[in-house]
Amino acid sequence: MSEQVGKQKKKLTRKQLIKTWLTWISFAQMNYNFERLQGLGYCHAMTHPIKALYEKSEDIKSALSRHLIFFNTESTWGSMIVGITCALEEENANNPDMDPSIINNVKTSLMGPMAGIGDSITQGLVKVVLLAIGIDLAIQGNALGPILYVLLFTLYTVGLSYILFFQGYKMGKSAIINLLSSNVIDKATDALKIMSLMIVGGLSASMIRAKSALVFTLGKTVVEIQPILDNIFPKLLSLGALFLAFYLLKKKEKSPTYVLGVLFVVGFVGTFLKVLG
């Protein structure tokens, strides 16, 4: 902690912080590219604290350059990193002895874990659950489907990123390091997996449509296969389709486009052979 007695300590105002957060959650991926990914977006967000904290041209230049580094994370949960960086830049502006390279170290060491947990929750959970509601309404022709979906999802991204940004700013880097060194995140990830796997199971039964069109004639009676399958294990073919896709993606490491092709082939051949229908 700096001991610059006499000299007034520089502090970011609430307004400056809000501007930073807003720029981040609006423009993080505006110039998304393979070389730096969210690097330019990050720098854009940091222009606000940089303008506020540094006066000397040299400081501004090096700060801007610093934040153009490669960066990528899940933007909602990653807001926390931006918050922490604000706290670090503040410290850096007040404390001439601080080594500014620590700032980028923190950024790059946090972006991975935050992407991991953020992608699981935002894309794997929140999106899926809200989409389920939205599709359910929309398929019945109810316009509330997409409307509710957008409203609730935006509430989530805006609300959560706001909270995490200010948490990050307040707690600084120490708290995050605590978080990462404890196994809370591991446990949360495990719990999320349990929950999400149940949802995946439910989705595959409710969303994958696969029915057999097979018909046998046993003596005089006509036997349809699908009702028998339904009696034995409903949605068995849907589960089969899921495992086909999963097998190709995970075990055979095929691309989604390849799997798409396989599904087209299965669908067409199955229909032509009157096996599916």
């Binding site: 981040w24 959650i25 991926q29 505006m30 110039n31 590219n33 854009h44 222009t47 940089i50 041209s57 501004i60 230049k61 801007l64 350059s65 153009l68 933007s75 992407a115 992608d119 894309q123 999106k127 989409l131 509601i133 929309a138 398929i139 316009a143 489907g145 997409p146 957008v150 935006t154 991204t157 990123s161 495990d190 999320l192 997996k193 349990i194 929950m195 796997l197 149940m198 995946v200 199971g201 439910g202 039964a205 409710s206 969303m207 994958i208 449509r209 409903p234 949605k235 849907s238 589960l239 389709a241 086909l244 993606l249 995970k250 691309s255 989604p256 486009t257 798409l260 032509f272 229908g277």
Partner: protein, 249 residues
């Protein structure tokens, strides 16, 4: 609305969602592209109910799509906004619409990759501005320069698809035999397996596989909806997390 204007509007929206939309909205409007497109295109084409059904059906294929580390398995702006519009413009059945939209999403990766490659140019420009301490320059690179290439890679192909493609598709569909349409619909039912399979690959952990089957049974046998399953899943997850915690302590 003239076809020209419609094509213009669809292309504009597709471009906007793909690249210019603020990030906090992108999460919903991009990843839920088809669903949202259902409403938007429904309004543009003047048949909201039809639009909603087409959009919702296409969305099912992308339920479980996960974009991690900048890698996109399918472009949802094209699959969603352009796909829904194309399907509606030729009056496809919702279940068949899927098979039009999905290839668009796959092709869309070309547009996405082109932009991801080209946009690196502006970072280098921004680097020069940074060295000069030119904050406005840096901002401009992120906000405005970034939108130039996407007009090439998103707007123009989308415009052409609707303006030219839709008419071609209509003629083509006139010759398509019934069994082919049936096959499209069957395939449409299978495609959600891709998205859900991707989600499963991402989440897979052998020792939690039982929960996959529990969720399946809850839906297949008991018709519990996703919210209900999510609540049960959260209950199980929290309980077992607590149990473990105590073990450690």
């Amino acid at each position: 609305m003239s076809l020209f204007f419609t094509a213009f509007l669809v292309a504009l929206i597709t471009w906007f969602v793909a690249t210019a939309m603020p990030m906090f909205l992108r999460w919903s409007c991009y990843f839920g592209g088809p669903l949202v497109a259902g409403l938007v295109m429904g309004l543009i084409f003047g048949d909201v109910t039809y639009g909603l059904k087409v959009g919702a059906t296409i969305q099912m294929a992308y339920f479980g799509l996960i974009a991690v580390g900048g890698a996109l398995p399918s472009d949802l702006a094209l699959a969603g906004y352009l796909g829904t519009a194309l399907a509606m413009s030729v009056g496809l059945e919702p279940s068949a619409a899927l098979t039009v939209a999905v290839p668009l999403g796959a092709l869309g990766l070309l547009c996405f990759n082109a932009r991801m490659t080209l946009n690196a140019v502006w970072v280098h420009k921004a680097e020069t501005y940074a060295k000069e301490g030119n904050i406005r320059g840096v901002k401009a690179m992120n906000l405005f320069a970034s939108q130039l290439f996407p007009i090439l890679t998103y707007f123009i192909p989308s415009f052409i698809t609707i303006y030219v493609g839709s008419q071609g598709l209509v003629k083509f569909l006139a010759y398509v035999p019934d069994v082919f349409v049936k096959a499209l619909s069957v395939t449409g039912g299978l495609i959600p397996a891709l998205g859900i399979g991707m989600l499963l690959s991402y989440l897979w952990k052998k020792e939690y596989a039982p929960f996959l089957f529990i969720g399946f049974i809850l839906s297949a046998y008991l018709k519990i909806n996703i919210i209900g399953i999510a609540v049960l899943g959260a209950s199980a997850a929290i309980f077992f997390a607590f149990q473990k915690e105590k073990e450690v302590v």
